[in-house]
């Protein structure tokens, strides 16, 4: 009888586990917004408690925090919308980016006007590099519809800003190189491998539609944020209430360990990422990146810095992209000019990395969560495969949490002589 009960209970537990795994996998797109909402709520909880000390009820304190959160999101959305370029500005930016890219490519490989002869580097790797450049150009170059809009703007159609002569000249130069590149691709790979003008929607368009799809999932984030903020320990109490008496004290202790670890880790990471972001902003501004771009690059580098080396990659990548496109710079350091700006961006990335490793991390994290580099690398790869960029961002905190949970559980079970 007892054996049968154990078998039935085990089978039900297994079924429950399978259902949980299936649901988790099916709803994986929602996991990251859910986690972000929960973590934000967790980070804001101390503020709610502080507000409650002024005499406000929990409901009022939560309402106040949620209003502040909503107002903050509104202001952010407004700011982003204000600086976010419209369609025509994006087309002009693509023309400029393609022109600068072609210029640098030609300079690097010593290409002649026909784009078929170059230096030794081109002789050795020309075919491969041309294929790579063709893919980038394909993303940047216009679809027929975009081309029509651009030309209408140039012709001064009402409702559109007139395209400047400089940008139009860049467009003509881009078009000429695009045709030569198409001929070159035909030589390299044969007919059918290239089309002078992309007939399919560009990769950029696909990325944007995927981004929009992703954003729709993020609607759940504020809802989760509010849900966890409203909770005044009921979820924790419910979890503890389900635990058998024998495991009551160990469970409370494990949850306390997790609470302390997550709290200190979150605070530490937020501070570290902020420091990295501010360092990028200041140093990039010093070497001549305009204030608004220094802020944007610093913000992105700071956010992505939650992934080990992510901040460096984003800071360096965006900084170099800026250096590539910049036509003139006004640095505080007189020896920086548009030609050597890329080198100074590299210096900024290296200095920030060194500061992060030697000052910021030891100062704010104190090596409290030392994870094996291999575990971190595998975790980031796995999480990014499953959940994309957001998965990579939250891989390390999740691994840290799982590590603390496992260690604390084992310690408590041993102390209470359960195992």
């Amino acid at each position: 009888m007892r054996v049968r009960r154990v078998i039935i209970q085990s089978a039900l537990a297994l079924l429950g586990l399978l259902a949980f795994v299936y649901l988790t996998w099916s709803l994986r797109s929602l996991i990251v917004p859910l986690v972000v909402g929960a973590l934000l709520a967790y980070a804001v909880k101390p503020l709610v408690e502080a507000v409650k000390r002024w005499g406000l009820t929990h409901g009022l304190a939560v309402s106040l925090m949620f209003l502040l959160f909503a107002a903050g999101l509104g202001v952010l959305a407004n700011q982003v919308q204000a600086v976010w370029p419209d369609r025509q500005a994006r087309l002009e930016f693509r023309v400029l980016a393609l022109y600068k890219l072609n210029q640098k490519y030609q300079a690097l490989l010593g290409l002649d006007e026909t784009q078929t002869r170059g230096n030794a580097l081109y002789d050795r790797f020309g075919a491969d590099l041309d294929r790579f450049m063709w893919k980038i150009r394909d993303d940047l170059w216009f679809t027929p519809k975009e081309q029509q809009i651009f030309l209408n703007a140039r012709a001064g159609q009402p409702g559109l800003r007139r395209v400047s002569d400089q940008i139009y000249n860049y467009y003509l130069a881009d078009g000429a190189i695009e045709e030569m590149a198409a001929r070159r691709m035909l030589e390299i790979a044969g007919p059918g491998s290239a089309s002078p003008v992309s007939q399919t929607p560009s990769m950029l368009g696909e990325y944007l539609s995927r981004l929009a799809e992703l954003l729709s999932f993020w609607i759940v984030m504020p809802v989760t944020f509010l849900f966890f903020l409203v909770d005044d320990g009921e979820i924790r109490r419910a979890v503890i209430g389900m635990v058998p008496n024998r495991y009551f004290e160990p469970t409370v202790n494990v949850l306390a360990d997790l609470d302390q670890t997550v709290g200190s880790y979150l605070r530490g990471v937020i501070l570290e990422c902020s420091l990295v972001g501010v360092t990028y902003m200041v140093l990039l501004w010093l070497v001549g990146v305009t204030g608004e771009w220094a802020i944007i690059i610093g913000l992105l580098a700071g956010i992505v810095n939650i992934i080990p080396y992510g901040g460096s990659v984003i800071g360096l990548g965006l900084g170099l992209a800026y250096a590539l496109l910049a036509e003139q710079v006004h640095p505080l350091l007189h020896f920086v000019n548009p030609d050597n700006l890329w080198l100074w961006v590299v210096v900024v990335a290296v200095v920030t990395r060194v500061l992060d490793d030697t000052v910021y991390q030891p100062m704010v994290l104190g090596g409290a969560l030392e994870l094996h580099p291999l575990v971190v690398a595998l975790g980031i790869i796995g999480a990014s495969l499953l959940f994309g960029l957001a998965g990579a961002i939250f891989a390390v905190p999740t691994i840290a949490l799982a590590s603390v949970f496992f260690k604390s559980t084992m310690r408590q079970l041993r102390a209470y002589t359960v195992i």
Partner: protein, 192 residues
């Protein structure tokens, strides 16, 4: 020398000590209201705490805060609440039922006391860091307890230092009373 405390004397000693001048702590610990007991109607934790004289100084809001930090646990007959030698994780307050306290010395179990409704035990969990349990607590019959864990208590003190101070004071008095009682037991055992 092993010390055995007679459960009846355990109550009697304190009753004598407090005498006519019944303190809030002795009421809190040892007075059993008629409304409580095995057949008492279920009370909310706040109502229960409000009925304890030792917490008379706490406002309704503070009692709510304290109740929200506590966990309701039910134990079956013979179920061990905590065991001697394991870490001290929580203080327990008896809402209904009976709890037997015992201590194992030289391999033999010795009964120390039997506690009833409104009494508390395991208080060292809130006072000492990493102190192992000195006794074993076992439920006699069905017992409904309120548990206040160390992490929850720390969080409560952080949220409301006033409530924390009042509870600390109550615990300090309880420990002092038990210390005095223990001294008397030692004297009594030595004189024999």
């Amino acid at each position: 020398m092993s010390i055995r405390i007679d459960p009846e004397r355990f109550h009697g000693l304190l009753a004598t000590r407090e005498g006519k001048k019944k303190s809030a702590i002795s009421d809190f610990l040892y007075r059993v209201p008629a409304s409580l007991g095995g057949k008492a109607p279920p009370q909310s934790a706040v109502e229960f705490l409000a009925g304890l004289p030792a917490l008379a100084g706490l406002a309704k809001k503070e009692l709510c805060l304290l109740a929200s930090a506590m966990h309701e646990r039910s134990f079956g007959d013979g179920e061990v609440i905590f065991e001697q030698g394991t870490p001290s994780g929580a203080l327990y307050l008896i809402r209904s039922g009976c709890v037997a306290l015992s201590r194992k010395t030289d391999g033999t179990d010795g009964a120390l006391a039997s506690l009833g409704p409104n009494e508390l035990f395991g208080e060292l969990a809130l006072l000492l860091d990493d102190a192992p349990r000195q006794i074993t607590a076992t439920s006699r019959g069905l017992s409904d307890l309120l548990a206040l864990s160390r992490p929850d208590f720390d969080s409560l003190v952080e949220k409301s230092p006033v409530v924390g101070m009042k509870i600390f004071r109550a615990l300090a008095r309880l420990v002092a009373l038990r210390f005095i009682m223990l001294m008397e037991e030692i004297e009594s055992a030595s004189s024999k």
